[in-house]
């Protein structure tokens, strides 16, 4: 297998979901089963091809980067720059190949899951079409070798996310959530766009490799390192939006209005991880300052969302916040320089978090059916407080869910243990190297919180007794199409797929394949080099493992004490600390804050401007019109009274005198003669006198 073939295959992987989208959107209604089989099989093919690509890449071209570039727009010769063109293309390195498999695998499983979960939906075929479109866009992000296409697909996943969150758009909450997701993402995207602008203005190319090479060659944007840092942070803004990092994390919990498989695919495993992928892609151009910024954003995000997750009662909301928190971990990992660990966590998280969402989907599906069976339309099928004891009725779901939970908590033998442990070790090393001790402290704290709230879900939903015994009888395990993906993902949550050593991934193929790239930034502003970092990391590894295991154990224990053995009453704690509980329950009031400032401010300002426009600006225009009319009225009056008046006066006077003299004209010859005589006599006397 040669490189050419791999690239062609990757193009096929990219376009198969697009073909699925086009087929289903145009012919969906006329296809058997509304085209779900087409979508699923297309993704199956794409998965196969991706696996082939990954194997070929790792076995045959392990250290090479495959690249295919074409000229999209040619500006020809431009003054001051010379030949200028926009090259687009795809590249395949190891992280691309891995991501291809991750995306197609999760997407395929979600397609499969959805055939059961979504059956009977009003827009069944459109749902599958959008899934295809999303997969296409996501694969585009993964494959692209330049910022332009990255931005293009970045927005396209945004739009597919918009369409899928708003799948049930008759519900106002769903329509609102989809709109919010898109707009909040756009805020981040604009930051990324400005970052891209900086790069384009300086390098006149979008291609990653060329930009990194230029930076490595000493070409710094505007010859200033702060601009390089700014470019890095602005690019990262895209990730802040898409990966729901603080302060743009508010859209992701609302995005749970979408169908649950969509949450699994887009809002847990793939799209939200795109931000992490972006940081990994652009890692070489990140300066030390930018990385510290990234690390802090990740840490703050992880902490805030973990605290919120504790107080939520909606199973999907908890998972949503846990997703944000885990994304914070990944970002933190990349920020501290644990590049491989951060990306590794992306991959392992994709599997177990997709599993968690699909598992919750399975639970919701069962709850929903049971409620439907009872004719109950008021009880919330997603509320943890309405569940309990599901283990007996849904064993497959339960065991799979438990595996995912163990993985996310970082319990040994799971994939999550490997990846999370590496990140925490990295944060510890980072703290040692830079003195930023807050980062590792938050890292470990969040690990404990994660364990607590995840086991809270497991205990509340699956253990104990069901809240309503009558409903309990109607609960059933989900169909095969739903359980098979769960089992597959549960298997993938074990360590063996990534490393044969259950206590350290660094010897596994993954760490071998994904190595931290050489930084391109000047030494003065570069973070600690990979070698330096590795050295410290090695020392802190055991400490980190011990610490993380103990905090996770503590979290799990606390969850059992509180929710299983009920030694501590959660209600009492909540009542004892009402402001804290309300603060967490209301998600730190971020929505309220943004609603009162950004949203209300913009809308209010727009109203003011609209008023200004119609009253002042248009008022001036209309005023000018009125003024003109006033002047014309006045000049009209002047014309009719003064100018025309003078003319009329002359005529009037003429008429007046005419009337006066008319009286003399009696028509009688005798009068005339008398006048003649008088006249003659007058003349006579005048001349006599003279």
């Amino acid at each position: 297998m040669n490189q050419e073939l791999i690239l062609q295959l990757s193009a096929a992987v990219l376009f198969l979901p697009l073909a699925s989208f086009l087929l289903i959107i145009f012919f969906g209604k006329r296809l058997p089963r509304q085209g779900d089989a087409i979508g699923t099989s297309m993704l199956g093919l794409a998965l196969l091809a991706s696996v082939v690509i990954l194997l070929a890449k790792l076995l045959l071209f392990h250290d090479e980067v495959l690249d295919f570039t074409f000229t999209w727009v040619d500006f020809k010769s431009v003054a001051g720059i010379g030949p200028l063109k926009i090259d687009l293309g795809i590249m395949i390195d190891n992280i691309t190949a891995i991501m291809l498999v991750v995306v197609t695998l999760i997407s395929f499983l979600v397609h499969l899951f959805s055939t059961a979960y979504m059956s009977g939906d009003v827009r069944y075929s459109r749902y599958f079409a959008y899934l295809g479109f999303f997969s296409f866009s996501m694969l585009g992000i993964v494959l692209t070798n330049n910022f332009f296409l990255m931005y293009v697909f970045w927005e396209l996943v945004g739009i597919s996310s918009y369409l899928l969150i708003g799948h049930w758009y008759e519900k106002k909450s769903a329509a609102d959530a989809s709109k919010k997701a898109f707009i909040v993402n756009r805020v981040g995207d604009v930051g990324m766009f400005i970052g891209i602008n900086i790069l384009w203005a300086n390098y006149h190319t979008f291609t990653f490799e060329k930009i990194f090479a230029a930076i490595a060659g000493g070409q710094i944007p505007y010859d200033s390192n702060p601009w390089l840092t700014a470019a890095g942070i602005l690019i990262f803004c895209g990730a802040i939006g898409k990966s729901a990092q603080f302060p743009l994390h508010v859209w992701l919990p609302d995005a749970m209005e979408g169908p649950t498989p969509v949450s699994a695919l887009i809002h847990a495993a793939t799209m939200v991880a795109a931000g992490v992928y972006l940081v990994a892609r652009t890692f070489p151009m990140m300066t030390a300052d930018a990385l510290v910024f990234i690390a802090y954003v990740g840490a703050i995000t992880a902490f805030i969302s973990a605290t919120i997750a504790i107080a939520q009662n909606d199973i999907k909301k908890v998972l949503a916040y846990s997703t944000i928190s885990q994304l914070g971990y990944m970002v933190l990992g990349l920020g501290v320089g644990a590049y491989t660990a951060g990306f590794f966590h992306l991959v392992t998280h994709a599997a177990f978090k997709a599993g968690l969402f699909l598992g919750s989907g399975s639970v919701i599906h069962a709850m929903h059916n049971a409620l439907h069976h009872q004719g109950d339309h008021h009880t919330d099928a997603q509320d943890l407080r309405n569940m309990g004891g599901l283990r007996k009725k849904m064993p497959v779901t339960f065991w799979a869910f438990l595996v995912y939970t163990l993985a996310i908590c970082g319990v040994p033998l799971t994939s999550g243990f490997l990846s999370k442990d590496e990140i925490l070790a990295g944060s510890l090393a980072f703290g040692k190297l830079t003195g930023q001790t807050l980062i590792p402290v938050i890292g470990f704290l969040v690990a404990g919180l994660t364990a607590f709230y995840m086991f809270r879900i497991v205990i509340l939903a699956f253990l104990g007794d069901h809240k309503d015994p009558a409903r309990f009888e109607h609960l059933h395990e989900s169909p095969k199409a739903m359980t098979i993906p769960l089992v597959v993902l549960a298997c993938l949550s074990f360590f063996a797929f990534y490393s044969f050593n259950p206590f350290g991934a660094s010897s596994g193929w993954f760490f071998h394949a994904v190595e931290r790239p050489m930084t391109a930034v000047p030494n003065a502003v570069a973070a600690a080099s990979a070698e330096e970092f590795e050295g410290v990391l090695h020392e802190s590894h055991v400490t980190a493992m011990m610490l993380s295991l103990s905090v996770a154990g503590l979290g799990i224990l606390l969850a059992y004490v509180t929710y299983y053995w009920k030694k501590i009453s959660a209600e009492k704690v909540a009542k004892a600390l009402p402001p804290v509980h309300a603060f967490l329950l209301n998600k730190w009031y971020f929505d309220e804050l943004y609603g009162a400032t950004a949203v209300a401010g913009t809308v209010g300002f727009s109203r003011v401007l609209a008023w200004f426009d119609s009253k002042i600006i248009d008022g001036i225009v209309n005023g000018a019109g009125s003024a003109t009319r006033l002047v014309s009225f006045a000049s009209g009056k002047f014309d009719s009274i003064v100018v025309d008046g003078a003319v009329n006066l002359v005529a009037y006077l003429a008429g007046f005198f005419g009337l006066l003299f008319r009286k003399i004209q009696t028509g009688k010859v005798q009068t005339y003669i008398a006048f003649v005589l008088v006249g003659v006599m007058v003349f006579f006397f005048i001349y006599r006198i003279v």
Partner: protein
């Protein structure tokens, strides 16, 4: 005493006659009477002509002019009477006040 006739006497008579004529022309309502007034005026002119012929430098020319005026007066009377007849036929009156069609 004998009154010594002079030019002034003739002129005086003529002036009186002229004035009477003018008076008749201006005041008489009847067209015929107006015509007669005109005749008086003409004759006062004749007296003047003859008087000037006798006393002044006109000599025979004065009498010539007087004869010419008499002829003219005859013609005028003929034409004027014809007009008056026509006016009578037109307006059914010879009252000049009623014949004011010139006015408008």
């Amino acid at each position: 005493m004998t009154i010594h006739l002079s030019l002034v006497h003739f002129l005086f008579v003529s002036a009186v006659l002229f004035s009477l004529g003018v008076y008749a022309v201006l005041t008489r309502r009847n067209a015929i009477m107006v015509l007669m007034g005109i005749e008086l005026i003409l004759n006062s002119a004749n007296i003047n002509f003859i008087a000037f012929g006798h006393y002044g430098a006109l000599s025979i020319d004065g009498q010539m002019a007087a004869i010419f005026v008499i002829i003219l007066a005859a013609c005028e009377a003929a034409v004027a009477l014809a007009i008056v007849l026509n006016i009578f036929q037109q307006f059914n009156t010879v009252n000049v006040d009623d014949v004011d069609a010139l006015r408008d």
